[in-house]
């Protein structure tokens, strides 16, 4: 049976002091305000120089890599069903500029990034990364949404890429993937798994037809 994991209830916006208590592998539930932003937003805000879609105080300081399953009713009400994160590693190149622009100190997403990016980009900005769980707890997360105070750039970017501001209560679960020192839970776990991989490949040899650009080093990742 599983050991009970350490669980923390975190209020948003979170202070650096509050983040300092979060070790990798800790389960976190969030209460407060956060917002969604992904590649469309980063490109528009940073590359196109448009800046943030609203005052930072209205958006919050936690950025969720997510597009909700939601509709906007004819009367303007929002119907939010399930919410699930999308893979974050694709967004790494924008993050340094993004931290400066947005003032965010929590990134929530799927799969994390490399510890190199944490050290170079997250640590100087006092930011941590929270990963969603199983990448499919969309219904549980949907239950935690109390209110949608605003949706920005809906016309410019479409429903999926728009900025959804969400007021949440005991929203989760999430797991701390990187802490304020830039450690990565995924890399820590993989370092324990990798030594066992060679025995699985015993008796096999590389495929007859090779492919450019691939690796046979199982310590490598595909991200």
């Amino acid at each position: 049976m599983q050991k009970k994991l350490k669980t923390v209830e975190l209020t948003l916006p979170a202070s650096t002091e509050a983040l300092r208590d979060l070790e990798i592998g800790t389960v976190v539930y969030l209460t407060g305000r956060l917002f969604t932003a992904r590649e469309g937003v980063y490109k528009r805000a940073i590359e196109d120089g448009v800046g943030m879609p609203a005052a930072n105080v209205d958006l919050g300081t936690a950025n969720f890599h997510c597009s909700p399953a939601a509709t906007i009713e004819p009367d303007g009400r929002f119907n939010v069903g399930a919410v699930t994160a999308t893979a974050s590693f694709r967004f790494a190149k924008w993050l340094d500029g993004w931290f400066k622009l947005s003032g965010c100190n929590i990134i929530i997403g799927k799969g994390g990034m490399t510890s190199e990016i944490y050290r170079n980009t997250f640590v100087p900005n006092n930011a941590i990364y929270l990963t969603t769980v199983g990448y499919g707890t969309g219904a549980l997360l949907g239950r935690g949404i109390r209110n949608v105070p605003g949706v920005y750039w809906r016309q410019e970017l479409g429903l999926a890429q728009a900025v959804w501001v969400l007021d949440v209560e005991r929203f989760g679960p999430f797991i701390v993937e990187s802490d304020l020192e830039g450690h990565s839970l995924f890399e820590t776990e993989l370092a324990k798994i990798t030594p066992g991989l060679d025995r699985l490949y015993e008796g096999t040899k590389p495929a007859t037809l090779r492919r450019y650009g691939e690796t046979d080093d199982k310590k490598d990742e595909v991200i």
Partner: protein, 319 residues
């Protein structure tokens, strides 16, 4: 004549069922993973997913926020006669996809690959995919919708006969380890393997093996069935569980489908149907009755026929 209104109503119900209700066979398989998993983090993830399925059913909300890429599989009995013909059926399935996107709601995922333009309804050029099969001596239509994740966990490789079973095993491991890290494949998954065919057929067979066969089903060729068991156990011995954390829960089941291929080659594809294995099927009978189920019964003795003429028993599906 099967009325179009019944097809429309059934298709909309299927979209919601697939998005909200985890199929019993996958649920049973995941519960077995939960019973044997020793990794604390991997166990926590599986437990959260089991709670998520309950929340989805109670609230009637989608279990996953990422709709994946909804698609349709249509199997026509040879004597089925839908009102308006197959063109009307296609239009109905496209409309049901768009309607369900708004009513469930589902996230509108589909965009133009270059212009990134969006109809906000999961319908567009060549979307949703609609695949067809036929069944002898029947007057029903089977509709199946699958909402499979659209980004990670699938790969294709042209292997050669000289690569042998060891080459197949190696590519299987490569795919599971590569996409299993950080849980990109959203494992534990139903892993489908396509062997043979031409390149497109190889991909289609592997995807169908993961999405259209149930946990516990076995290929009728006993030697392939043995490989399915072996590969399931191999995947679970990697040392990796849910989200790429230490553990043993990688493969809920492994399904292999084959097609005859070029004499010089041995193409292989691997597909992973995720923690939200979304599929739902309905049989619409000629008299308008509708029976819902979660086993698509896509692969049959007829669909796997080996030679020119079909003379086998037609009444029962192979699984």
């Amino acid at each position: 004549m099967i009325p179009q209104s019944i097809i429309q109503d059934t298709a909309e119900k299927l979209m919601a069922k697939a998005a909200i209700e985890i199929p019993d066979d996958y649920l049973g398989g995941l519960r077995r993973c939960a019973d044997t998993e020793r990794g604390d983090l991997s166990s926590f993830v599986i437990q959260a997913m089991l709670e998520n399925y309950e929340a989805a059913k109670e609230d009637r909300r989608a279990m996953c926020g990422d709709t994946g890429v909804p698609r349709w599989y249509v199997k026509y009995g040879n004597d089925a006669r839908p009102q308006g013909g197959p063109i009307a059926v296609e239009q109905t399935l496209r409309r049901a996809t768009a309607t369900a996107t708004r009513t469930v709601p589902l996230r509108p995922n589909r965009v133009h690959p270059l212009w990134r333009t969006d109809h906000d309804n999961n319908v567009g050029i060549n979307a949703p995919e609609i695949e067809y099969a036929f069944h002898p001596e029947a007057d029903w239509i089977d509709l199946t919708t699958v909402h499979k994740g659209g980004l990670f966990g699938s790969d294709y490789r042209m292997l050669f006969p000289g690569d042998g079973l060891q080459g197949i095993k190696r590519f299987f491991l490569d795919t599971l380890i590569g996409f299993g890290k950080r849980g990109l494949a959203c494992q534990p998954a139903i892993v489908g393997v396509g062997l043979g065919g031409s390149k497109d057929t190889c991909m289609v067979l592997g995807k169908q093996a993961s999405c259209l066969r149930t946990v516990g089903s076995r290929n009728p060729d006993p030697r392939i069935a043995e490989l399915e068991n072996e590969f399931r156990d191999l995947g679970n011995s990697i040392g990796m569980g849910a989200m790429g954390f230490m553990g043993s829960s990688m493969v809920v089941d492994c399904n292999i489908e084959v097609g005859y291929c070029h004499t010089g080659g041995m193409p292989m594809s691997v597909h992973m149907f995720c923690l939200s294995s979304r599929r739902a099927t309905a049989r619409i009978h000629a008299d308008g009755r509708v029976d819902y189920r979660t086993d698509p019964e896509w692969f049959t003795a007829y669909s796997r026929r080996e030679t020119v003429d079909w003379s086998g028993p037609v009444a029962v599906a192979a699984e």
